[in-house]
């Protein structure tokens, strides 16, 4: 039964987007598709509306920084299907400075998740209705969850114990 669910997750998306799926990883019972950044909105629309998947609930969107690997960033989407009891992870890979289309049009909950990712990694989401920092102050410099951002922060007047830039 479990295996069958995995197969559905793999086949449905691969057959629909044969070119856009760059890589498919199955690890510890979790299915991950790496998608071309330009196709992510289409892929999300598909997994939400498809009869076999029905991923109506977006659990999470987050960034990961693989510095110094290239391309450096990944944006990870976790989604959940309540009807089919399935979980799926989609990913896009982005180089520094690249942006990705926003999925706020597919799930409204993506709004804050994408703002958080922007705040922490500086990844821009095209078409986001209100892309601004969410946790940090508006005039904050830098994006703290990047690997080249020191734990103690950068040294300035307000942070004398920080690391020299």
């Amino acid at each position: 039964m479990k295996k069958q669910a995995e197969l559905v997750l793999i086949d449905r998306i691969k057959s629909k987007f044969p070119k856009a799926v760059v890589d498919t990883i199955v690890d510890r019972g979790e299915v991950t598709h790496v998608i071309e950044a330009s196709e992510i909105v289409e892929a999300c629309k598909f997994v939400k509306s498809d009869e076999e998947l029905q991923m109506v609930y977006l659990s999470d969107v987050c960034g990961v920084d693989y510095h110094p690997r290239k391309p450096r960033f990944e944006v990870v989407y976790h989604m959940l299907s309540l009807k089919k009891n399935l979980r799926l992870r989609l990913k896009v890979r982005l180089a520094e400075g690249e942006s990705v289309d926003s999925v706020t049009g597919v799930w409204r909950s993506a709004n804050w998740y994408e703002r958080e990712t922007f705040d922490m990694f500086g990844i821009e989401f095209e078409g986001h209705p209100d892309l601004r920092r969410i946790y940090l102050a508006e005039d904050w410099e830098g994006h703290p969850l990047r690997k080249d951002y020191p734990l103690k922060g950068f040294k300035d007047d307000l942070n004398p114990n920080g690391i020299e830039e």
Partner: protein
């Protein structure tokens, strides 16, 4: 004179749109919530939560700590129910490691997680009552919460920041005294919940303030990413404990309470019903509690018992190694979610094969719930905002991470 008054009443009264800041220091804004409200008279046009006042960079800290060292930080997320956060984190790491904990460990964890659900919901109900002017409920809820905290103290010595769960099991075994006191709570609690219901459920003021306020339909609730009781109050039949069972939930008999209208009153009723189910779950766990070890038998993951460390050289070396260098976790990534009192609490961990997580993302339910504030308060009155916020039950340690 009287003509003048009539003139004024008959004219359309237009007021200038104004912006009101509710919080971050406000008695009925939970924690440090700062709501920027655009208002036309007393009607809400837009509510924009401004969060981040309690941001501590927990995820950045996690990247610089050994896996076992991060457990105490999870206590400080949703500090009303620290056990659930502990559980979410250690389960994610165990999934990465690919280990299954012992039966007794699972039972102890289930009891602890359900106790923390009780403590979270009790505070939610109490504070909600206080916000809407029913002060006595808070006092009663605090009395029962005190019993739960006493139980935590018996379990691990701490009342709020437990750090009780550890990767591979729990820190201490349960004692007979704990079992006995827990049994007392299970017997005592349903009657007390009836008491709250007499105070609130049929109360005209409580009903008027909550019914048809902050209504969310099932589709909207899913679209907005609501979780836990807030999702179920809209009639979405989804509970991770039943639908994606972890620990021993698949062996227990419990119901998933649902609401119909998706208003504040349903969210209140769902929470009360969930507390009743939690009590039932704890009772069943106490009945079924098996004997045996409470930790897995894996010396690299589980430190030796503390009393051996003082007497035995090998144990001392083992303890030192565990504390100073931790253990390596296989490469890979996992997303592990549990049903915390507020909703789906997920930990997404990317491991690069070292002793520290490469990336740790916490999917916190309070953050996702709070996002719906605008949708739920739009078009309502200012006084309803207070009810809506209380019904969402945000905890800012968790929301701001």
């Amino acid at each position: 004179m009287s003509n003048n008054t009539n003139d004024i009443i008959e004219k359309d009264i237009t007021t200038k749109e104004m912006t009101l800041s509710l919080g971050p220091q406000h008695p009925s804004a939970h924690g440090v919530l700062h709501l920027i409200l655009d208002m036309q008279g007393e009607l809400i046009i837009k509510a924009d939560p401004d969060i981040g006042y309690l941001h501590r960079g927990t995820e950045k800290i996690a990247e610089n700590l050994l896996y076992p060292q991060f457990v105490p930080y999870t206590d400080r997320l949703d500090y009303m129910c620290g056990m659930s956060n502990n559980l979410g984190y250690v389960m994610a790491v165990e999934k990465l490691l690919g280990i299954d904990i012992t039966e007794r460990g699972k039972y102890i964890r289930t009891i602890a997680a359900e106790l923390s659900r009780l403590s979270g919901h009790l505070l939610c109900t109490g504070a909600w009552g206080l916000d809407l002017g029913a002060m006595s409920v808070l006092l009663y809820a605090m009395r029962e919460r005190e019993m739960v905290l006493d139980l935590f103290e018996l379990l691990c010595g701490a009342r709020m920041t437990h750090s009780y769960m550890r990767i591979g099991g729990v820190r201490y075994d349960v004692t007979p005294k704990f079992m006995e006191k827990c049994r007392t709570l299970v017997d005592w609690m349903p009657g007390k919940l009836d008491e709250y219901e007499t105070l609130l459920t049929g109360n005209r003021v409580w009903m008027d303030r909550n019914q048809d306020v902050g209504v969310v339909t099932a589709e909207d609730a899913l679209d907005l990413g609501l979780g836990g009781p807030n999702l179920r109050a809209s009639g979405v039949d989804w509970d991770l404990r039943r639908d994606a069972p972890y620990l021993i939930y698949d062996r227990l008999d419990f119901n998933v309470p649902l609401g119909e209208n998706g208003d504040c009153f349903d969210r209140y009723k769902v929470r009360i019903a969930e507390m009743r189910e939690s009590v039932r779950i704890i009772g069943q766990c106490l009945d079924q509690m098996p004997e045996g070890p409470f930790n897995v038998d894996m010396p690299e993951i589980v430190p030796p018992p503390k009393k051996d460390v003082y007497k035995d050289m090998e144990a001392l070396i083992h303890h030192f190694k565990y504390v100073s260098s931790g253990f390596k976790v296989p490469k890979g990534e996992v997303y592990s979610a549990i049903e915390s009192p507020k909703g789906e609490l997920g930990f997404y961990i990317v491991s690069d094969g070292s002793e520290k997580p490469m990336r740790l993302k916490i999917r916190v339910p309070s953050f996702c719930n709070l996002q719906a504030t605008d949708h739920m308060t739009k078009g309502g009155y200012l006084a309803d905002v207070v009810a809506v916020i209380s019904s969402l039950d945000p905890v800012f340690g968790e929301c701001d991470k």
